[in-house]
Subunit: 561 residues, 2 copies
């Protein structure tokens, strides 16, 4: 048994249990505390990050012959984050990936599991470096950068290992197979005996295309699922969020080399604005699977240009909230306000369209009109973000110029604002791009609400009644996709019908969230992130369907009589 | 619990066990004996078949508004098999499939399993009708038509149900989820409690495109995998092999209707030579998965035109035999002769290219030259097929005009024949299209051997030595794909290296077969048919990767405190 597997197998075993029971569990500490991460960890992480800025990112196990290319970038918080990263030509990158896979696929599964589990542990120890790397590439606030960029991403990685273990262990490694095939002349049974072995083998090369907002959280499932099932991985970060995945690749190559495995099992691909570089790699016939989180435009390009390669896609979606009634109006509006504010609504799970019946709703505070509900949410947002330090902690910064332009254009339009856009002032980062949520009142026929307005723009939508709101929500899920839906209803008949209909439409659903958990949040081992059942994603992160197709079985059978 | 599920659950449980252990097992009797199928079953099956010929195929649960179209066909055995089948316009077909799926996906999983298991049992009872239907559409001999068309196909269907059950049961249906999210002002822990439900849901519509040679065996895995996971299925048979799948659809619709389920969950699509009809259906965006066994040309069309839809493809491959040494020369040549003769080498698993070192091999009968080995195989074929009744029982007939032309053209070429082509005379079917295997001696540089020559054409290939034969075999697998490879070697070092290299190349491998089991044969529950690791197929029939991506999970979570 591999020493690394032995070291970590209890962690894997526990993960295997909880993906079945779906209980709350965590392997990696989610609080950014030196109690978990060791004395001095905070300062060391910050120092390590600052030492990287402006410099070459040197892989501890270099990609030989790579050129260093300068990747210009400015953090969403306004600091210069330009660095140089190693870049290989396409042919060398692909040839080495193929070559490395030939060794990697031959290793026994436990060796691969051991390597992946060790990588997760070492990445966990770098969480205070990762936090700054994620924060200053994505614009996430500090706490989210720590949690979603570090431990929660690692949990998603571990989760895929657990699924992979189940898929591999679903078949016995060998069997003595006997079959009666006839009788001889004396009437004795003739039996054929065979010794059979079943060998799981990775299918080839995976390309994981990182996203700009959650490079590790959305990247780790595909990377670890592909790796542990015997594929090599080319990690192609978003041009705006290279560092978090470069750190990941660095740790992976280090562990691989220590185990005397060809480190080119994992390589970094830097496009640096050269789309043809990425596209040529993706169209190479050695690529057997592609993991992508990002825009519809590029997702559609993949569907049209990769000729039947296995695609694991998360594209754009439109997330809805349906408010029919509540027994805790204040907590509901606070919960929604938090969801609209978190990372400036730049999560794929953030709600955008809030459906409210035009005649209002029943609540614990009596009847509330449409405007009461809309204003209640707006007030809750104002209260939540009124303090700039809290706004900094919750909102973070706008990810890119496109988001800045979109929110500014929207803020200057002649819509009916329930809440006008405001900027926030972050003491530590005066040049950060910020925008508090704007809330716009619209009619259910307004076409704008049916497009994703990525960023802090929300719509409160006047509907005929709750039933028509439900129809609109379901139609929206089926037509535009949804990563999440939230429902507020305390009337049993309506609630059950809404749950059934939204499940039919294929969206993950959160019901009556009033505190502590938010619709944007998806917990590893318990919540399936996406369903694979609507246009927002063709698969969950993570379920068996996300992992099992990444490897095949070779049957070797030998007659033994 | 559904009554049908209760009736059949022990069968499913046993199938779940054996897909893990990979032991020999069968649920449906493979011998065409009235001891298993009841007195009078043989005659009834033949009578039922004869009553269908020349007539309308009436579904017991009709597809309303369908037109009957005349499908001209002649059996490979020479009898007129023209029949009329019901055909719906594309739009109606798709709309009804979508509509039916809305009910089907909502049913609890046990109801769907019950329906599928009952269908398998009823199809088993029709095995003596199926045998003639398969024989006179595909050209398979009687015994193979019975086994591969009936019970063995049903085992493959049941096998997918077992995988689906494992995939669905991998997640608990619900959990009470609790998480400590912080402390209140008094320092007490704050816990959020959530009630979570996990609902498996089919992704939409599956189209299964039947193949001309094994309509049921290759069709059932996809049909049952899609159905049981909550998808509706459109069954599009090959124009030359409609009847076996029409019978299948008939039984399915009957069981669905009896259970008060919309029978349009399963529909028949008859293209009748109209490729646009098929292609337009396949390009509809409601189609979420496509199962196809057949030509590279159409498989490639699917890859290029279906925009990221999940494809389960078995295309052309080149199957090889590598002979390095043997301790039972006579049994080896007999075994190979059988494999070359079975169904006139029209199995996707049939060997074509036989690699033999030019300096010959060591055997239990001493050294054998290349020509000795080639001649040994040829002699074994002549002996096996010398008797016309045995030839009839083993070879069956040539599937279509294309195969007839190919074998005739090859037979008339100026190649070096170790065994020239001969026709067989089938007493019962004087107009059958027949051809015994031709064996052609070639050099390893001959390009022809690197194309699939579907039909009874085999090549004995002179290689420099066994090592170069191994290299050629592995290169062939990686470049052209292979559903099977056979190895004869009794020298441990070579054997182990060959096993490792062929496993690396990604082909299923049979070693030293000398009797009772043939390289063409793949046993449900034990042998993975295809590996998904080389160009011949992108997936196994069947493993978890074949089943799990067909459904997704909806997470419904409700805060309860």
């Amino acid at each position: 048994m591999s020493a690394l597997y032995e070291k970590h197998k209890d962690t894997l075993l526990k993960a295997k249990q909880v993906i079945k029971t779906r209980e709350e569990w965590a392997a990696y500490p989610e609080m950014p505390s030196e109690r978990h991460y060791g004395e001095g960890a905070k300062q060391k992480g910050e120092d390590d990050f600052n030492a990287l800025l402006g410099n070459k990112f040197e892989l501890k196990v270099p990609m030989q012959d790579a050129d260093y290319v300068t990747c210009q970038s400015t953090s969403p918080f306004g600091i210069d984050t330009t660095m140089q990263f190693p870049k290989l030509d396409k042919k060398t990158l692909l040839d080495r990936s193929q070559q490395a896979q030939k060794q990697w696929r031959r290793l026994d599964a436990e060796t691969r599991f051991g390597v992946c589990l060790e990588v997760l542990e070492r990445l966990s120890k770098k969480s205070f470096l990762m936090v700054h790397s994620v924060m200053h590439t994505t614009g996430q606030p500090f706490m989210m950068s720590f949690q979603a960029g570090g431990p929660h991403a690692l949990e998603r990685g571990l989760e895929t290992l657990a699924y992979a273990a189940n898929a591999i262990e679903s078949t016995a490694p060998s069997v003595q197979w006997n079959k009666v095939t006839g009788k001889d002349k004396e009437g004795n049974l003739i039996t054929v005996a065979m010794d059979k072995h079943f060998i799981p083998r990775g299918k080839g090369i995976d390309v994981t295309i990182g996203c700009a907002t959650f490079p590790t959280w959305n990247g780790y499932p595909g990377i670890f699922a592909a790796l542990v099932t015997g594929n090599s991985v080319i990690v192609k970060p978003s041009d705006n969020a290279i560092l978090p995945l470069a750190i990941t690749v660095d740790v992976m190559r280090e562990v691989l080399q220590e185990e005397n495995i060809n480190p080119d099992v994992v390589q970094l691909a830097i496009s640096n604005g050269d789309n043809a570089y990425t596209q040529d790699i993706l169209k190479d016939k050695r690529i057997k699977m592609i993991d992508f989180t990002g825009s519809n435009a590029f997702g559609d390009w993949l569907k049209e240009n990769t000729n039947g390669v296995q695609l694991y896609l998360e594209q754009a979606g439109l997330n809805n909230i349906l408010i029919q009634s509540t027994d805790n109006f204040k907590a509901m509006t606070s919960n929604i306000a938090f969801s609209l504010s978190l990372y400036s609504s730049q999560m794929c799970t953030a709600p955008q369209n809030i459906y409210i019946p035009k005649n209002g709703i029943e609540t614990n505070d009596g009847h509330k009109s449409f405007d009461d509900v809309a204003q209640g949410i707006a007030t809750a947002v104002e209260k939540l973000l009124g303090d700039d330090r809290r706004a900094f902690a919750l909102m973070g910064a706008l990810n890119n110029e496109g988001v800045c332009k979109r929110v500014n254009d929207s803020a200057q339009s002649d819509k009916t604002f329930v809440l006008a856009m405001e900027k926030a002032n972050f003491e530590a980062f005066p040049n950060a791009n910020t925008a508090k949520p704007q809330i716009i009142k619209v009619d259910q026929n307004d076409a704008l609400i049916y497009e994703e307005q990525f960023g802090p723009i929300a719509y409160v939508i006047e509907t005929e009644d709750a039933d028509s709101a439900l129809t609109l929500v379901c139609d929206s899920i089926e037509e535009y996709g949804a990563m999440t839906t939230a429902l507020y209803s305390v009337e049993d008949d309506f609630k059950q019908k809404a749950i059934d209909d939204i499940a039919d439409a294929g969206s993950p659903l959160s019901v009556n969230l009033t505190g502590g958990v938010y619709v944007n949040q998806s917990s590893a081992y318990s919540d399936f992130h996406g369903s694979g059942l609507n246009p927002a994603a063709n698969v969950s992160l993570t379920d068996l369907g996300f992992v099992a197709p990444r490897f095949g079985w070779v049957t070797v059978r030998e007659q033994t009589n």
